[in-house]
């Protein structure tokens, strides 16, 4: 199978590398589309009256599964399609509302090759609004260790996320 060449190889990544920032203007459409795309029908993600009067928040806000999708997009924008997610850990610290400018920024925590020969990179990502961190994501993603390697071809016995 001849596909596109890997965009980023494991050997090109080092501890302390910064991932390119992603800046995005959040609108009500962002929040509602994200909630419905993740099949989250709870009203605080589409009904401002409910969010304000029942939840006590200032508006509707991004739901967690859609934030997971934002983090995945952020990581694979950087790695390219050969990057294969192994593990993500989220911590929610605050809400993201329409009108917010969210900024995703990440730093490489380390790079290592496991005993199966799989190249892993750890990254710490923060989603912030006006300098205040709203969500953190610790991610572990596999990258090709050479131009002919592809983490997606690893079956269960060679995939240790």
């Amino acid at each position: 199978m001849n596909g596109p060449a890997p965009r980023l190889l494991h050997g090109q990544v080092a501890q302390g590398d910064r991932l390119p920032e992603l800046v995005y203007e959040v609108t009500a459409t962002t929040v509602v589309l994200g909630a419905l795309a993740s099949r989250d029908w709870r009203p605080m993600h589409h009904d401002k009256d409910f969010a304000v009067h029942r939840n006590g928040t200032r508006d509707i806000f991004l739901n967690t599964p859609n934030q997971a999708a934002w983090f995945e997009r952020y990581l694979t924008d950087w790695t390219g399609p050969h990057g294969r997610l192994g593990r993500v850990t989220f911590r929610m610290l605050g809400s993201v509302f329409p009108g917010d400018t969210m900024v995703l920024a990440g730093t490489v925590g380390g790079a290592a090759v496991d005993d199966q020969g799989c190249g892993w990179v750890s990254a710490a990502i923060e989603l912030a609004v006006a300098g205040e961190v709203k969500t953190t994501c610790a991610a572990r993603v596999a990258l090709p260790i050479g131009p002919d390697d592809n983490p997606w071809t690893r079956g269960p016995e060679r995939w240790k996320p």
Partner: protein, 190 residues
């Protein structure tokens, strides 16, 4: 996930645990490691939702948009790994259903048996195994992993617990494990 969610009638596993262990904490802990709430997704993994999800975050990864790239890299189309829980959220309405199912039922069971009216999720880890592909019929079950001793936080007094949601495909292959840490509590001033 927060707010009241207790059910009027305790589920059978919880009732049995309470019959054997009158102390609610011991009853809750007796459920650790049991596979609970096996469930099949209401519909197969499908590309329409994959595209809607990618559109919602402007994810242009060619794995999801370019069949040639997907064939070359992943042996055919795959779903974004982060969508794993999407395939289990119940329809907003379905014929004959009188009340919406609660996802992560073990969380609500713990609130009920420990009599902790409030709860928050503090963090969430997802580990990804075999890729999820369009047409897959996924199954899931929930496993309680731990219930802490009583803790006092700025929210109130309560207990932390860890619940895993385990996902398999129709071949029985493990595709993912989600791990949630919850804190059930009673408000400090009430």
């Amino acid at each position: 996930m927060s707010g009241p969610g207790t059910s009027a009638a305790l589920p059978p596993a919880l009732s049995a645990a309470l019959a054997e262990h009158p102390d609610p904490v011991e009853a809750a802990r007796s459920l650790i490691a049991l596979e609970q709430y096996p469930e099949a997704g209401e519909f197969p993994v499908e590309r329409g939702y994959i595209w809607t999800s990618c559109a919602s975050v402007e994810n242009g990864n060619p794995l999801f948009w370019d069949d040639g790239a997907a064939e070359a890299i992943t042996g055919g189309p795959v779903a974004p790994p982060s969508m794993i829980s999407v395939w289990f959220r119940p329809h907003h309405w379905a014929p004959g259903r009188s009340e919406a199912a609660l996802p992560l039922q073990v969380h609500f069971d713990l609130k009920a048996v420990l009599d902790l009216p409030e709860a928050v999720m503090t963090d969430n880890t997802i580990v990804f195994y075999e890729p999820v592909r369009p047409g897959d019929r996924l199954r899931t079950h929930q496993v309680l992993r731990s219930v802490s001793d009583e803790k006092v936080t700025k929210l109130g007094t309560g207990r932390f617990w860890v619940i895993e949601v385990v996902y398999h495909n129709q071949e029985g292959e493990l595709v993912g494990i989600e791990s949630y840490t919850g804190f059930g509590y009673r408000r400090a001033t009430s």
